[in-house]
Symmetry: C2
Subunit: 345 residues, 2 copies
């Protein structure tokens, strides 16, 4: 090993992936698209392609078992992987699930986890086709690979957005992040005094958004029924700002996102304010909403107009016009993605 030492934080997650994988080239003719989208794309027959996505969830980094019941964790682990397949405009069909656990966990705990995985498999019609179970020195690690399909011409990459396209999000934003704040607060209260019962009253919606997000398989169906093919698509795992920038970077375009257009549920706004947080900041940078962000050609506007699941939040501009967030006063602020979770000791 060389004597130089570059800290992981210097590169950040996306910089690190780019750096480590830059010298890999695809040589198999079945590889249609490798690294850099929500899923890889493989050629499997003349009509369809296969979509493959993978995710690893680490205790203490991605989830906290103090407020995340194992059953919910199992469900969420499947849902977020199905969401990656949705983000390519495809349908998930199979998953593999590998887990590493310390013997702190009894068999009954893993039964809870697999109950959640089973419920999600039933709900999303995906088959559990394999995996690996091993011991870990500490904590729980879950690694999931989701496998899906799409008609070749339906696949939506991050790179297809074009000038004048409309930027659309599904559902509402920021709730998962604000829900996490409530759970974190109650954890602190509990740590200070275990006799005090958690006060989650009135926060059901935002807590459910954090603990039990759903992949928008319904939206993929609606889009097909409406005969709308998104020109680009991504799912919102790291926050809207980060995902908009991914689309802009991959598509080599600019954008305007309008503050006043962001779909934020009243319960999210009220609780955010309770925590002295700006609801729009939660929507832009909160993450974990697992909604879909996509672009459509203006000619498709009439097909999605007034659809209760979709909100137009801005439009695509030429790359040299920049990427901007337009606030309530009409001021244009350059879009930036918040930093990534730091690498832990």
């Amino acid at each position: 090993m060389s004597e130089q030492r570059t800290e992981l934080d210097n590169l950040g997650e996306f910089g690190l992936i780019d750096h480590l994988t830059k010298k890999f080239e695809s040589i198999q003719k079945t590889t249609e698209f490798a690294i850099g989208d929500d899923a890889a794309v493989l050629n499997i027959n003349d009509k369809e392609s296969q979509l493959i996505s993978t995710d690893m969830l680490i205790e203490g980094v991605h989830f906290n078992l103090m407020y995340m019941p194992l059953k919910h964790l199992g469900y969420k682990a499947v849902a977020v992987n199905v969401s990656d397949i949705c983000a390519m405009n495809g349908v998930a069909e199979q998953i593999t699930v590998s887990i590493a656990v310390s013997n702190r966990f009894p068999v009954e705990a893993l039964e809870e986890l697999y109950d959640g995985i089973h419920t999600a498999c039933r709900f999303y019609n995906v088959d559990l086709i394999g995996g690996d179970t091993s011991s870990s020195l500490s904590g729980l690690t879950i690694s999931i690979t989701a496998i899906g399909r799409a008609i070749k011409e339906d696949i939506a990459y991050r790179s297809g957005a074009q000038e004048h396209d409309l930027l659309v999000v599904t559902g509402d934003l920021g709730a998962a992040y604000v829900g996490l704040q409530v759970l974190e607060r109650e954890k602190e209260v509990y740590n200070a005094n275990p006799a005090i019962q958690p006060d989650l009253d009135g926060h059901d919606y935002i807590i459910e958004r954090q603990l039990k997000p759903e992949a928008r398989v319904d939206v993929i169906k609606f889009l097909k029924e409406l005969d709308v093919k998104p020109t680009s698509m991504i799912d919102i795992s790291d926050g809207l700002a980060s995902e908009v920038l991914h689309i802009c970077k991959s598509s080599k375009v600019g954008c305007h996102v309008y503050d006043e257009k962001l779909p934020i549920d009243t319960k999210t706004s009220m609780t955010a304010i309770e925590f002295n947080l700006d609801p729009h900041t939660c929507a832009m940078n909160g993450g974990e909403d697992y909604e879909l962000l996509f672009t459509v050609s203006q000619k498709d506007y009439d097909k999605i107009k007034g659809n209760p699941h979709m909100t137009v939040i801005g439009h695509i501009t030429d790359e040299k016009d920049g990427r901007y967030y337009i606030d309530k006063n009409g001021s244009a602020i350059e879009l930036t993605a918040q930093g990534w979770t730091h690498f832990n000791d």
Copy 2:
């Protein structure tokens, strides 16, 4: 969670997987085979099926960075997954690699790891098509999914062995385990006195078998050239005894494995004896050889007879005749697989 507490060790790895996945049923018509072989099998077109296998490697459980250079670890992680695709009589084409690392690792360490992954991808002609990079609270975890293909009628399952078939292994056995003993001994010596240089002289072969195993992609090619379709196949990751029992259980057959037929390299035998280990026990239970174990119909015997890569070590019997290891004196000893690594605290 229920109040009952059943320890993970009560079930063991395979018992645990069976227990957790027993209520999962496949509903997708593209799922040809789900859990219970070296890889899952998916229908992708009229001629071919896809093979999907996944593995997780945990620092301190599956590898020790004190004697495993990161470059070798990267290479091995790919090789063992390619081996799973070989074990279905298929050809690996793509992999995904997810890693979780603590910030104990500098970027340069991960470059070493990915150098090894890259070298293996080149050697095995597999494309890196995706993955996930995240932080961990401690140590390094690697999760790999391998994707391969096979002509439908070529696929070899564990369940196809029939009475009178011959049991065949490739290469030689036990070397990886004995190599590990040498590395462990030198680690102890180093821990006791870091000034002493490791004494690995004359152990190159067995250490390479531990640190840089190869998937037998060459054997898959030979079998095709020889026009031999194994009736069943598995790769040797946990030790020959365990794998023979997997084939017998899946195929509902018995077997005789002959002690005197086991292919063991002289260097393996000599070093085993140095460690007061029985070389045949190392071959039967050592594991990590990543050779292939398969069965062929007797009519194919002439095609493999004298092949330097293949050794007939026994034959398949009727299930009610039992599963036996025949020692040098002709005594039949019931085959048992050694226990699995215990779940750690």
